[in-house]
């Protein structure tokens, strides 16, 4: 480990049957760091992970574990440094969860694979860590997806690796299992100083978990970078080629496709009061406009994603006369106003004046999307 990296690749090319799909992959990871691979389906995340774990031969370039080339490690020694959790579903016959997890001791046990007291202690300890000790005696083929993933993670951790590679470990898991699984990984990386490389579909989780993020996009892989650099709305939209709907990084939320057409209602929101109304209008496929919102309002991004037009003013400023005029014009052309904010409680809401104007012009005023036909 002369260069100080526990895991690294050097101009690695990966692909199938001698044909390179992704070239020039350069990763350098220090001990205890977490790298997440993100990118659309079929972009090559699995191909990269299979190659760096030796399941698939590389096309060219090298992978290093502790500074030593992957191919140059003796099998048994490599298994003590590198462990995997794969996407494939395994169906072992009559194997208890304890047995599955204990297979992780393989590189350490003798000729017949008998477990020593120390091995058993490690397996139990690991099962407790992934909170699967209660199902240790159950048959592996008869537990839930979430439990299965914990046991497979325990198996990998029993190898006591320096580098842990997981291919989409959170797929098919419910939200609670996702959170707990990623929490175990964070704990492993921080406390055991294990380096973790994983591919994730949930980019909101990737952002919160990882130290470094690598975007994989079919023909190339970007340099791994800090999450705050990678996760910008524009970058994510471009990476996943999102042309309809949107992904809002700051909120970690997915918004569906906005309803096209002449806006039929003008939503007066602010301070988050409009959020539910925007979504309700979207579900009913009613095109709408929104205003006036400060650009740092918590609902601004969602309004922008779902509304035809948003009348907004700069953050920390106030609405100019020109902005007000634009909002009134927009409101009158809609013909209907949806009052989302509470005029009684939100006295300083800039839309208080607009509501007054609406009353004066006898604009139809409603308080929910349900009142519209």
């Amino acid at each position: 480990m002369a260069d100080g990296y526990v895991f690294s690749t050097e101009a690695l090319s990966v692909g199938y049957k001698g044909k390179a799909l992704i070239n020039d992959i350069n990763i350098r990871l220090e001990k205890g760091k977490i790298l997440a691979l993100i990118g659309p389906n079929g972009a090559g995340k699995s191909t990269i992970l299979k190659t760096v774990t030796g399941q698939l031969p590389s096309i060219s370039g090298k992978t290093f574990i502790e500074g030593r080339e992957l191919e140059k490690w003796p099998r048994g020694e490599l298994a003590k440094k590198l462990a995997v959790v794969l996407t494939e579903r395994i169906q072992p016959e009559m194997m208890s969860c304890f047995e599955v997890a204990a297979m992780g001791r393989y590189p350490y046990t003798g000729r017949f694979g008998a477990l020593t007291a120390n091995d058993k202690a490690i397996v139990w300890d690991t099962l407790r860590r992934v909170r699967a000790d209660d199902i240790a005696e159950r048959d592996f083929s008869q537990i839930s997806d979430g439990q299965r993933q914990r046991v497979l993670l325990a198996r990998a951790l029993c190898q006591q690796p320096e580098v842990l590679v997981l291919d989409e470990p959170t797929s098919f898991l419910d939200i609670r299992n996702k959170i707990e699984l990623l929490d175990i990984m964070l704990e492993t990386a921080r406390e055991k100083r294990t380096t973790v490389i994983l591919s994730l579909h949930e980019i909101d989780l990737a952002e919160k978990l990882s130290d470094l993020v690598m975007c994989v996009r079919g023909d190339r892989a970007e340099e791994p970078d800090a999450p705050e650099k990678v996760f910008t709305d524009a970058h994510i939209r471009e990476l996943y080629s999102i042309t309809q709907g949107s992904y809002l990084v700051s909120r970690g939320s997915v918004e569906l496709v906005r309803t096209e057409g002449e806006p039929r209602v003008f939503v007066l929101g602010g301070a988050g009061s409009g959020l539910n109304h925007y979504r309700e209008l979207q579900k009913r496929r009613i095109p709408f406009a929104a205003g006036m919102l400060s650009e740092n309002d918590m609902e601004f991004e969602v309004a922008k994603a779902l509304a035809q037009t948003v009348v907004s003013f700069p953050a920390f400023g106030t609405a100019s006369e020109e902005t007000k005029a634009r909002a009134i014009q927009e409101m009158l052309s809609c013909g209907t106003v949806l009052t989302a904010f509470d005029p009684g409680k939100q006295k300083d809401n800039p839309n208080t004046g607009l509501l007054e104007t609406a009353r004066q012009h006898h604009v139809n005023i409603v308080f929910s999307a349900g009142e519209l036909q």
Binding site: L82, A83, L86, M94, Y106, P107, G113
Partner: protein, 343 residues
């Protein structure tokens, strides 16, 4: 605590298998057209050779070799089946089901029909070699087709097809062969432990026990292979070498059986499955010796039925093993199917 329970269960099952083995052995020696008192049997067997009396001859020349052949070959078939199930990761795999026995039969048959034209008798090593060649070839064929087949049913169909083709070719040769040779071949291909001689038994036993020992040495990688090829590789198993060893050993074992007694049906699938149920685990270090013992017990029992059920007529051993083995295979298919639709 549960760990100790498993160890206790394993010890108990081994003890029961041992008792069953001895019991069926004694029962088998005792049963037949001449019945002999157990005390007498013990004396004659312990004396180490026939004392020249007619009872001694019945025991040493007829019953014992046949019995031991059933025990060793039954064990060999079961372990061969277990290795194939590991290889294909499919509980339905076995030398008979996959057509491997038929392949061995084809090679032995063709050799018998043709070589007997030129020499008066075929040396046993040649039968052995032909059986091994046939087993290997069919296994490689199955392998070629089964490469991308995950489904149990598809593998079964491939095996049946290959087995049918082998049988068809064997029949073709038989049609054009001398009648005397055909009779010889027909008797052999029905499957029977009756024509076993001591020297052949010695040779086969030696090979079987070496193969068994080597299989037992593989129990650690077999154990890892239960999680699939990729996990096994990631834990340090040399997968290529391991696969070659599995195929080689299972072919040697099933070739031994076919060479000595002809193809025997379903033992290779039924016995490993029953063994797993008995031990309540699929741990290879238990299942390999366990299914060897149970296979011996199973085949000795089936041979006893074959000999006595319609005495003085004798049934083919496959007739009996099929009656007990085929239902196990069907049950296996159904329970697997159910689990898949559940999951």
């Amino acid at each position: 605590m549960t760990k100790q329970l498993t160890a206790f269960r394993a010890a108990l099952v081994f003890a029961l298998l041992g008792i069953a083995f001895v019991a069926i052995l004694v029962l088998n020696v005792n049963t037949g057209s001449v019945s002999i008192a157990p005390k007498e049997i013990l004396r004659i067997v312990l004396s180490g050779k026939s004392d020249g009396s007619s009872i001694g001859n019945v025991i040493w020349k007829i019953r014992l070799p046949r019995l031991l052949a059933a025990a060793v070959l039954g064990g060999a078939l079961s372990v061969s089946g277990f290795l194939l199930q590991t290889f294909f990761r499919n509980p339905i795999a076995g030398p008979y089901v996959l057509g491997i026995s038929s392949g061995a039969k084809l090679f032995v048959g063709v050799m018998m029909v043709y070589v007997l034209k030129y020499v008066s008798s075929v040396p046993f090593w040649a039968v052995m070699a032909a059986a091994f060649g046939g087993s290997m070839l069919v296994t490689l064929f199955v392998l070629m087709f089964a490469r991308r087949v995950r489904s149990m049913a598809a593998l079964l169909v491939i095996g049946i097809m290959i087995g049918s083709v082998c049988t068809a070719i064997t029949d073709f040769f038989i049609t054009f062969a001398d009648e005397a040779n055909v009779a010889n071949l027909h008797h052999w291909s029905m499957g029977s432990f009756s024509a076993v001689s001591w020297p052949n038994l010695h040779v086969i036993s030696a090979i079987v026990f070496v193969a068994l020992a080597l299989s037992f040495l593989l129990s650690k990688p077999i154990s890892a292979y239960r999680l699939g090829e990729n996990y096994a590789r990631s834990m340090g198993v040399n997968v290529k070498l391991f696969r070659v060893a599995l195929i080689g050993l299972s072919s040697v074992l099933s070739a031994c059986v076919t060479a000595l007694s002809g193809p025997i049906s379903f033992v290779g699938v039924a016995v490993p499955h029953m063994t797993k149920l008995l031990f309540g685990t699929s741990r290879p270090s238990l299942i390999i010796p366990g299914s060897f013992l149970l296979g011996g017990v199973f085949c000795m029992g089936c041979d006893l039925i074959a000999r006595t059920a319609f005495a003085p007529s004798e049934l083919a051993i496959s007739t009996v093993t099929a009656v007990f083995g085929a239902p196990v295979v069907i049950a296996l298919m159904i329970s697997r199917q159910r689990r898949r639709t559940d999951g």
